[in-house]
C-alpha cells in the first residue's frame, strides 16, 4: 500500500508546486536583515525519547538538546577547528593529558546560577557517573583521573592516558553544561525534560511522540565564536512536531503546516525542489556505513577472502539507489570529518581480482555458483536493521564472484542481541563524530574492536594518534591506520550517511553544526 500512497502524494506535491517558485522570486527582494520573533515549526521523524544531552544518543534528541545547552567550545563545520564558546581560551599539555579551560564571565544557567568551574566539574563527573547511560560521553571521558578547580573560572581535566580527542569532545552537546540543580535529579527525570541549561532556548514542554516546545531566553548573550550575531536568538520559540511518516512530513511542508523537515526521504527530493522549497544536506562526519568483517569468523580468517569482498563491490552502481546528495564512501572516514583523506584507489572495484584472490585461497566455484572449499560453502549472513537500500546490490555483486551473502533484516533490538554474543561474521554500522578518533573507538582492540582483530600495528597508529594534537603528525597516523584497515579488509567502506533537510523559503540562517546536527541560534523567519 505504501508506494501508491507516496506516488499520489508526490503527484499532489507537483500540482501544488504551481504557485511556489514565482512567489519566492518576487519576495527575495525583501530585506535580508534578520528580525526577532516568530515560532519555527520543525518536524522530527521520531520521538527524542530522552532529551538529556548527557544521555541522548539519537539524532532527534540531539537536534532538540543542542538548543538547550552550550558547550565549552565549538567546532567549525568546514575546517574542524575548535573555537571558544563558554570557554574563552584553553591550554593542552604537550602529552595531551591535561586540558585547562578558562571560562567567560557572566554566563548563567536559566535558573540564574552561574556557569563556573564548579559547574563544569560537576557536569563532567556526572557524565562519568552515568556510565553506560551516557553512551557517547563515557567514551569521551574514558580514563579521566581528576578534575581540578584552579579558580572560579578555571578548571583543569587530567587523564591517565593521552586523550587528544577530548578537546573536540568538549564541543559536542553530549558534554554540554547543565545546571547543578539539574544534575541532582535522577537520570530518568532528566530524560523527561527536567532540564536547565545555559543555551539560547529553554524547554517549555515535552510530550512523547507528539511535540517538544522551546522558548527563547531573552537574557542570552554568550553564543559561540561561530555565531553570526550577538544577544538573544532571533526566534521567539521553536515547536518540534514528531511526524513519523515521510509522506506526511512532505505534505505538511508543502502545505505550510511546518517550516522545516529534518528528515527528507530520497524519493521526495525532486518534488521538494520543484516547489521552491530549499534542501540543505551535509554528510555526517565519522565512520561511514561499513561492513566490519569479523577476523576470527572461520570463513573470514583468511585475509584474501576479506580483500576479495572489498574488490567485488562496485560503489559506482549504488548511485541510482542513493540520494543525489549522498556520496559513496571514499575512505573509512566521511568526507566531512576533520583529517579525512581520500582513499578511493583502495576502494576500486575489480571483480576479476576478487575471483583470483578467492581461487588462490582455495575456494572453487561449485555448480550452484557459490564457491566451496573442503565441502564448506562460502556463505555469510548479515543481520542488520538500517533502512539502507544498497545492501541487496552488494549481495548481487558478491554473488558474481561466488560469495553468498544472506541478508537478514530485522529490528534494531534483534540485531543488537545477535551482535552482543560476538559470533556474527559481519556487522553493518556507522558512527557519527566530528573527530578522527572515532576510528580508534570503533576499531582499536582495547575499544569496541568491531572487526574482532588481534592487536597489531594498526592499534599502535590509532593509540599514537590519540596522543597528539599536532595536526601533521595526527594526519599521518590517522592515514596510516585508515589505509591498513582497508588493506587488511577489516572494514569495507560503502557509503556516507547524509542528513538531508528541507525548509520553506521564509526560513533563513539555518545551518548545520560540525556534527551535522541543527543549530537554530542564528535562524530567523522572514515575515
Amino acid at each position: 500500500m505504501r508506494p501508491p500512497a507516496l506516488v499520489t502524494l508526490g503527484l499532489l506535491a507537483a500540482i501544488l508546486a504551481g504557485c511556489g517558485p514565482e512567489q519566492a522570486a518576487s519576495d527575495t527582494a525583501h530585506s535580508d536583515q534578520p528580525v526577532t520573533g516568530g515560532t519555527l515549526r520543525v518536524a522530527l521523524d521520531g520521538d527524542p525519547q530522552c532529551l538529556d544531552p548527557h544521555q541522548a544518543g539519537n539524532n532527534t534528541a540531539l537536534n532538540v538538546g543542542r538548543q538547550l545547552v552550550d558547550s565549552l567550545t565549538d567546532q567549525h563545520p568546514q575546517s574542524g577547528e575548535i573555537v571558544p564558546w563558554l570557554a574563552e581560551r584553553w591550554e593542552v599539555s604537550p602529552d595531551s593529558r591535561r586540558f585547562t579551560f578558562h571560562l567567560r564571565q557572566g554566563a548563567t544557567f536559566s535558573d540564574g546560577t552561574p556557569v563556573d568551574a564548579a559547574a563544569v566539574k560537576a557536569n563532567l563527573e556526572d557524565v562519568v557517573k552515568l556510565g553506560a547511560r551516557s553512551r557517547l560521553g563515557s567514551s569521551y571521558l574514558a580514563g579521566v583521573q581528576r578534575i581540578d578547580i584552579a579558580d572560579a573560572h578555571s578548571v583543569a581535566i587530567v587523564f591517565a592516558q593521552p586523550n587528544a580527542q577530548f578537546l573536540q569532545a568538549t564541543s559536542t552537546m553530549t558534554l554540554g553544561l547543565l545546571a547543578p540543580s539539574t544534575l541532582a535529579r535522577p537520570a530518568s527525570e532528566r530524560c523527561q525534560g527536567q532540564l536547565i541549561g545555559s543555551g539560547p532556548f529553554v524547554l517549555k514542554q515535552f510530550v512523547h511522540n507528539q511535540a517538544v516546545s522551546l522558548q527563547a531566553r531573552t537574557d542570552y548573550q554568550w553564543p559561540s565564536a561561530l555565531a553570526e550575531h550577538a544577544g538573544r536568538a532571533w526566534l521567539e520559540a521553536i515547536e518540534f512536531s514528531i511526524i513519523v511518516e515521510s509522506g506526511v512530513r512532505l505534505g505538511s511542508l508543502a502545505s505550510g503546516q511546518i517550516d522545516v523537515n529534518t528528515s527528507v526521504a530520497p524519493q521526495d527530493e525532486p518534488s521538494i525542489e520543484a516547489q521552491g522549497l530549499h534542501i540543505l544536506s551535509r554528510a555526517n562526519p565519522g565512520v561511514v556505513f561499513v561492513l566490519a568483517l569479523n577476523e576470527r569468523a572461520p570463513l573470514l580468517a583468511d585475509r584474501r577472502v576479506r580483500q576479495a569482498i572489498s574488490r567485488a563491490i562496485d560503489r559506482e552502481q549504488f548511485k541510482p539507489l542513493m540520494s543525489s546528495r549522498q556520496k559513496t564512501a571514499t575512505a573509512l572516514l566521511a568526507s566531512s570529518t576533520p583529517f579525512y583523506r581520500d582513499f578511493s584507489p583502495l576502494l576500486k572495484a575489480d571483480p576479476q581480482a576478487a575471483r583470483d584472490l578467492l581461487e588462490q585461497a582455495g575456494w572453487r566455484l561449485a555448480a550452484d555458483g557459490v564457491r566451496q572449499k573442503d565441502g564448506q560453502r562460502l556463505s555469510l549472513t548479515l543481520d542488520y536493521w538500517q533502512a539502507v537500500p544498497i545492501l541487496e546490490l552488494v549481495q548481487q555483486q558478491l554473488r558474481q564472484v561466488g560469495i553468498e551473502l544472506q541478508l537478514n533484516k530485522s529490528t534494531i533490538s534483534q540485531v543488537s542481541a545477535t551482535f552482543g554474543n560476538g559470533v556474527t561474521p559481519i556487522n553493518f554500522l556507522n558512527l557519527t563524530r566530528a573527530d578522527p578518533d572515532v576510528l580508534r573507538t570503533v576499531f582499536h582492540t582495547a575499544s569496541s574492536n568491531l572487526s574482532n582483530r588481534r592487536p597489531d600495528d594498526i592499534d599502535t597508529a590509532l593509540a599514537d594518534s590519540a596522543a597528539t594534537l599536532q595536526p601533521g603528525l595526527r594526519q599521518t597516523l590517522i592515514d596510516q591506520a585508515s589505509q591498513r584497515l582497508l588493506e587488511e579488509g577489516d572494514a569495507i567502506a560503502l557509503l556516507e550517511l547524509t542528513t538531508v533537510i528541507a525548509h520553506r523559503d521564509q526560513v533563513r540562517g539555518l545551518h548545520y553544526e560540525a556534527s551535522s546536527r541543527l543549530q537554530f541560534y542564528d535562524t530567523w523567519l522572514r515575515p
Binding site: 520521538d47 553506560a132 530518568s188 530524560c191 512523547h208 507528539q210 511518516e245 534494531i412 533490538s413 542481541a417
Partner: protein, 328 residues
C-alpha cells in the same frame, strides 16, 4: 409467572446473582493474568534483553564497555533467572506498577495514563462516526425495497472493510489537509485535529457494523411478528425503525468487544499516520524498540478494556432482551 417465583425466593436469587458475579470477576482476573504472563513469556523469549536494547537505541554503533553494561544489567535485574524476573514483574504488576520504560525511563503506568485520554477521545469519536455511518447504511439498504439497490448498498461494507487504514488516512490527508487546508495534518490540539483520524478509524469499523446489522435486519424482517405489524397497518418505514432495528441490535451488541478491539488495533496505524499521541503510537514505538515494560503495560490495558466491555455487555443483555435473562 417466572417473575412471581423469583420474587418469592429472592434471597436464593440474590445468592445466584452474587455467585455469577463472583465467577465473572474470577474469569476476568484469569484473562488478565494470562495476558500478562503470555506477553511476558513471548517478549522475554525474544533474543535480546532490555539493557542491550537500551545501549543500542541510538541507531549507531554502541560504545559502552563490558563493566558498565554489567552494572546496568544488575540494575534492571536481567542478570537474574527468568522465573525470578517473572515473579518480580508479577508482584509489581499487582499494584499496577509495570516498571519503567526502557526507552525513556518514564514509569510505564504514567506513560500509559498520559496518552490514554487522547486514544479514548479518538476511539469514542470514531465509534460515534462508525455507528452513524453503519446504522445509516443498514437502514437505508432496507428502506428501499428494490432488491438491486439493497444489494448495491450492502456491497459497500465489504469494500470499505478491505481498504487499508494506512491508505485511507494518507488519502484523507492529501485532500482535506494538504490540498484544501480544512484540517491539520498532525497533532492532538482540539476537535479539528480529531476529525480526520477518527474518520479513518471509523471507516472499517462502520463497515463491520453495517454488515452485521444489515444481516440481522434481513432476518428479522422475515419474522412473523413483522407480518402482524404490517397487517395492523404500520408503514414499512415505521416497522423498520421502531421494531426491526431494535430487534436487530443484539448481534451488534455481542460484537462490542470485537469493535472496541478493532478500534484499539486501528489506533496503532491511525495515530502513526496522523502523528497523534496515544496508546497505539506508544505500543508501536515500544514494539519496535522491544520496550518490554511498556508493551506489557499496553497489553494488560487492552486486555482490561476487553474484559470490561464484555462484562458490561453481559450485564446489559438481560435488560435489553428479557428472554436472555433466564439463560444467563
Amino acid at each position: 409467572m417466572s417473575r412471581a417465583i423469583a420474587a418469592a425466593h429472592w434471597p436464593q436469587a440474590l445468592a445466584t446473582i452474587l455467585m455469577q458475579a463472583a465467577r465473572r470477576v474470577a474469569q476476568s482476573a484469569l484473562v488478565l493474568w494470562a495476558a500478562f504472563s503470555l506477553s511476558f513469556v513471548i517478549l522475554y523469549a525474544l533474543p535480546s534483553d532490555p539493557v542491550t536494547i537500551m545501549l543500542n537505541q541510538t541507531g549507531e554503533a554502541s560504545l559502552a564497555n563490558a563493566q558498565q553494561v554489567a552494572a546496568l544489567r544488575a540494575e534492571y535485574h536481567v542478570d537474574q533467572p527468568l522465573a525470578v524476573q517473572y515473579a518480580l514483574a508479577l508482584k509489581r504488576a499487582l499494584v499496577l506498577d509495570f516498571g519503567h520504560s526502557i526507552q525513556t525511563g518514564e514509569p510505564v503506568a504514567q506513560a500509559v495514563l498520559n496518552v490514554l485520554p487522547a486514544t479514548a477521545a479518538l476511539s469514542l469519536m470514531a465509534l460515534l462516526m462508525a455507528l452513524s455511518l453503519g446504522v445509516a447504511l443498514a437502514v437505508l439498504a432496507h428502506l428501499d425495497q428494490r432488491r438491486w439497490i439493497r444489494d448495491t448498498l450492502l456491497a459497500i461494507p465489504a469494500l470499505a472493510v478491505s481498504l487499508p487504514t494506512f491508505w485511507v488516512g494518507l488519502l484523507l490527508l492529501q485532500w482535506l489537509s494538504f490540498g484544501w487546508h480544512w484540517f491539520p495534518a498532525m497533532g492532538n490540539l482540539g476537535l479539528q485535529s480529531l476529525v480526520l483520524p477518527a474518520l479513518t478509524l471509523a471507516i472499517p469499523t462502520s463497515a463491520v457494523i453495517a454488515q452485521v446489522l444489515a444481516r440481522a435486519m434481513t432476518a428479522v424482517v422475515e419474522q412473523p411478528f413483522v407480518e402482524v405489524l404490517r397487517a395492523k397497518g404500520l408503514s414499512h418505514r415505521q416497522v423498520l425503525l421502531r421494531h426491526v432495528l431494535r430487534n436487530s441490535l443484539i448481534p451488534l451488541l455481542s460484537l462490542s468487544g470485537v469493535i472496541i478491539g478493532n478500534l484499539l488495533a486501528g489506533a496503532v496505524v491511525t495515530e502513526t499516520v496522523f502523528s497523534r499521541q496515544g496508546v497505539g503510537r506508544l505500543a508501536q514505538a515500544a514494539v519496535t524498540f522491544q520496550d518490554i515494560p511498556v508493551v506489557q503495560g499496553v497489553v494488560v490495558l487492552a486486555a482490561a478494556i476487553f474484559v470490561a466491555v464484555n462484562l458490561l455487555v453481559d450485564l446489559v443483555y438481560p435488560w435489553l432482551d428479557p428472554r436472555l435473562g433466564g439463560r444467563r
